[in-house]
Subunit: 357 residues, 2 copies
């Protein structure tokens, strides 16, 4: 995958996106199926490097919104994607020139591929976070003053909503309620911006990085090397813990998949216990009662053998996993970034733990 | 008030509208204040008889949505009205030619006066129900296949939502959630329709009837006659009960003002008890345990001396009231009408009680 996304790229892309998704962003299997159908039907997607975006490009981000626990049962339809884009471009009275990715994740990095294929538009090689976060105001463009709205929401029944909110927190609140009503899983189009705004605020190269991460793990498996090690090295991160899932407490409330997982140490971690707390994404990791990893840095749970990312809704008793920590985009560690997506925003009274700094 | 609404007409209009509001539709004092400010600022409003509407008129209905208990504390701003109309006409890409009233009520018959004054448009002398109902699909146009959406919602903070729902029940559901988020009281524009559709489906003459009812009660007071009797006679109804409010149980849930009131009989009703059940509007009246009045017919609670309507949120211990029953538009007694707004829709397992039939 260099300048074009074909069906041959989708396995790696989805697998790598799920790593950056830090437990959220949707199931990579679903993302791959949706993108594959769209690319087969409409042809390959042109990938536009972020730095090549013209100043006056009209960029629109597309994503799924809702609880990943619901997305795996109520599969999205491909028509929802174009419905959302058309509802918003109609309201804006503007032709869209480029599709962009709001967050990295097994579904949310692939939905933009679906939209770009359906609409015949180039896809920007970037994303709004460099990872996944549960709420829609949690993108770097918010730090640059970009507005999430006007945004559109479409469900599989045909209901459409256009929001024009006074700020991005209100956009999240109104969109979340609509999404809960619509069955906890919707397709959204948002953060309409110019090419100049996108170049300034997005994380460059995210889709390429996803494909690279997926390929690294795949090659390590083929060479009987350690795929977890390959992924961790590429992210500049470190392995925090290896162990077996002993308990998952999960509830789908206020439109999110929330919960706590407990893991008993194996290998060098025998006798230790890791607790993971999540809201769609893994937010906090506590090793023997001590906070060792927090948002905004990445907490990724990977299958210990295959290196495949395990999303929070797929976490099950008995899985043997490695939990790795990796640094996020440094802009998230600014005071404004931490106010938007640091541990205290999510209700954890702890300082953010930096990784690799 | 014949073909023009001036400030001199607003007292009677609001007072009469509150009678048809059957406890809901908002506080007439607030409606009068809002309309008075708009008419003073922008001039009188032209009233267009329903039968004179041209076939190709572009008619839009405006109203407040939410819990009347909240409306009396969080007063609407006049700007919200034009915000809602502009958001919707922008989405529709259509110029509005006439404003119409969705429901009769102390606020909801006056908000269209505000919109018509602000926008310099004629106001149709009609409404969508001939009374007030708590949910937005409950208008006669729904029986004729008219769509509530595209509709817009505006709050006092500046948030705007445009909904495009698959049916009018979905419109209600999505609009109610947005309204709850926005603080339980919003301004909405909806049921965009042609003049031909409006002529077929609206109740003609509602605003004139409101003004007439208000004037009848006022004149009866001036002449030391019985205003309750004057209003009841004009509506072709009958007095069910006269008594004192002994208990009001009230809760604001899921965006509605719900509750039960108990009244102890006076005058000829001494020794009897009336129970009123409400959801914004008075829905069921039980006299000594027997259901004697139900939606869709009108259950109006009037001050025993002045004949002024008492809305459900204004009902208080000790008030001396007369409860009257009056017939609704006969279309509400069709099978489709009862399915939409009969007692069973609201969860009361009783047959509708007809009045004056």
């Amino acid at each position: 995958m260099t300048r074009t996304i074909t069906t041959a790229d989708l396995d790696d892309l989805a697998a790598g996106a799920a790593v950056l998704g830090t437990g959220g962003g949707g199931d990579p299997h679903i993302g791959r199926l949706l993108a594959s159908a769209a690319v087969v039907a409409h042809g390959p997607v042109e990938l536009c490097p972020l730095e090549e975006l013209p100043d006056d490009a009209a960029v629109l981000h597309v994503a799924m919104m809702g609880a990943p626990t619901v997305m795996v049962e109520k599969l999205p339809s491909a028509e929802q994607v174009s419905m959302a884009v058309e509802a918003l471009s109609g309201y804006l009275g503007q032709r869209v020139t480029h599709i962009a990715c709001a967050e990295a994740g097994g579904v949310n990095s692939l939905i933009p591929v679906v939209a770009a294929a359906q609409l015949g538009l180039p896809l920007v090689d970037a994303d709004g976070m460099g990872r996944a976060f549960p709420e829609l105001q949690m993108v770097l463009p918010t730090l640059y003053g970009a507005r999430a709205t006007p945004m559109s929401i479409a469900d599989e029944k045909g209901n459409k909503v256009v929001l024009d909110a006074v700020d991005n927190h209100w956009a999240e609140r109104l969109a979340r309620s609509a999404t809960v009503d619509m069955g906890c899983s919707t397709m959204i189009a948002l953060y309409a911006m110019t090419g100049a705004q996108a170049r300034e605020s997005l994380v460059p190269g995210t889709l390429s990085l996803c494909a690279e991460l997926g390929a690294l793990a795949r090659k390590a498996r083929a060479e009987h090397a350690d795929p977890v090690e390959a992924v961790t090295r590429r992210l500049g991160g470190r392995r925090l813990f290896t162990g077996k899932v002993t308990d998952v407490e999960r509830r789908t409330t206020t439109g999110f998949a929330r919960g706590t997982a407990r893991l008993a140490g194996m290998d060098g971690d025998a006798g230790r216990e890791l607790v993971l707390r999540f809201q769609n994404e893994y937010l906090v990791a506590e090793l023997d009662g001590e906070v060792r990893g927090t948002v905004p840095d990445l907490i990724c749970t990977l299958d210990r053998e295959s290196g495949e990312a395990i999303t929070t809704e797929a976490l099950r008793f008995g899985q043997r996993v490695s939990v790795i920590l990796a640094p996020c985009d440094p802009r998230w560690h600014s005071a404004e970034g931490l106010a938007l997506a640091g541990p205290r925003y999510f209700g954890y009274d702890v300082d953010p733990v930096g990784v690799g700094r």
